[in-house]
Amino acid sequence: MRKTTRRTILKTAAAAATVAALPINANAQSGEPIRIGILTPLTGAGGNDGPRMLKAMTAVFDEVNKQGGVLGRRIETVVEDDQTNPEAAVRAARKLIEVNKVPMILGTWASAVTAAVAPVCWESKTFLMTVSGADSITLLPHQGFLIRTQPTSKLQATAHGEFMLSQGAKRVGIIGIQAPFALPNKEHLENTLKPKGAEVVSHVIYEKDKPTYRSEIDQMMRGKPDYIYTNGYAPDTVVLLRDLYRAGIDMPKFAQSYAVPQATLDTIPPEVSTKVYTGQPSADIESPAYKLAADRTGDKEPDGYVSQATDWASMAVLTIAKAKEASGVAMKDNVRKICQGSGQKVYSAVEGLKVLAEGKEINYEGASGPCDFTDIGDILGCRFRYMHVVKGKLEFLKLV
């Protein structure tokens, strides 16, 4: 009896405290935790990138939880593996939505997976954030329940084209994986190179999971390029780089930063990776968001995926704080209120929460860029960070 009484008193006290604390967004963590769904590839082709993205997101949530959570509630993540397979991903997404009742899912990677998961999300009013770059993704009838931090093919290819021009490229040979971004990338590159007197001399598409790309390389070399634009993922790009080295082809090679992470470079001899340049969407050079992401993950130069995952987690927290509720609809309606506009610039979730608590408007500037979105959920524009490989190590080159 005594026990029950004490409990009752405690409960009443806790409830009273919560009610009293709610309007001023107290630091005390009480009430149900806010569950956020994370659906990244942990196995399959994306198994290289998913774990890094997961780590970046949990790092942000941990930081927020240490500072007292959001709306006085802890953030809890529910992680599922999308297996880089649309069928398995849909099953996982349904579990997150129907069983864990998550208001949002962060992290789909492959475009086919995102396109398969997106209808499940918007039908159940769940918000989705993704890195999938295919132009077709944001054209889906998602009713605002989707944003992506990855620049469109057009933004990326135009920037990459300009970078290669600045390096003196005249004849560009493209060799890349078959993916939704393959063809649009080529077209946008052509459009960028043509007016400047350069051209795309060959375009070869290869299948994933091949042990060698020697014949594809020969096919590409037939156009006599002076600059190679590789357009694949990490597992195939490393095969490609080895084969280019074996073939004795010694010319500059451009790759997406996620295709040549430092982890890959550590597994190949430095000769193989000479003259490799990488690019990734990025925030300003002096952007504290990028530095914070680097400190948080212990990764000296976080790549595009790690930066973007950092931004999802931060935007998720800030939107919940702004909307004062954690639901898919609230996410959809409020996400643009914290990441664009004339509010005070903030560079991390914790910082943003403090400014929001003061009742001010905020504008989150992320590690992957300014994080400003169009109505269909594409990012408006961003800078690009270029690195080059020196003796097997990625080094900063410039920011455009």
């Binding site: 196995t43 579990k95 396109a115 997106a118």
Partner: protein, 314 residues
Amino acid sequence: MEHYLVAMGVTAGIYAMMALGMNVIWGKAGLINLGLVGFFAVGAYTSGLLTLRLGWPIPLGIAAGTLVASLVGVLVAMITVRLRGDYLAIVTLGFAETMRIVMSNELWIANGTDGLSGIPGPFRQALGPHLFNLQFLGIVTAATVILFFLVERLVNSPFGRVLRGIRDDEQVVQVAGKNVVTFKIKAFAFGTAALGLAGALYGHFTSFIAPDLFAPLLTLYVKLSLLAGGLGNSIGAVVGAVLVVFFLESTRFIIPLVPGISAVQGAALRELLIAVALLVVLRFYARGLVPESIPQPPLPTAPPEAAVAIERVR
């Protein structure tokens, strides 16, 4: 939770239909078809394209998907008719991969790797997601039950006996005067029709299909269903499919309970568990959980009358 169970029920139903189709080709006729996901894709794409691009009504699209998958099945059967065992397995696997690669690269057919999105589902808008799933569970269950009885009827008929004969000893069947080739093609036609039907239903259920969906992973899950349930047995096929989906899904809830592992290790552990489960089934239930029962010919209990008569004469 119940909505999730409904959605998983639909998945299990679709797996069961594929397992039933496979059972006719592999379980009964003994033809190892590793290209099942290819026929599944044909059904899904045919119905998806017809309803999306030409505005066909959904039932007609599904029927067309079933039919076209069956026709492709006949074609593949005619090409591979002289192959058996491993050779047939590798060629059919090649067929499924070819389908996937063609659909990835020929953008004009169905948007390549972007896939087909917005495939209509019956009353999707009017019902809302939860009722729609429930309705679809009804459709898939009905289709599975009908298919189950069709397969049962087929394998218990003289036709089914010939298929079993081909599986056990092709030459004996040939000596008995049966045209083995026609029987094999017919088995393929029926089995791939079931695969096409499953594919068409899947497309209308999820509203999105893309070449990446038709990776060998799905083939392996259905194969696993058959091995676990019992090859050559319709009940086994359905039980196996339900078990595989149950197992795939329940591991999601078990893994987080294992202390001290990260999410990445959990994902790997999940795949390991599936592999171990298969090994355990193969080791201890080599013929599946519900083994095929082959009706024994009736044995005479008493000596035949003629023999008795002869005995008397002596």
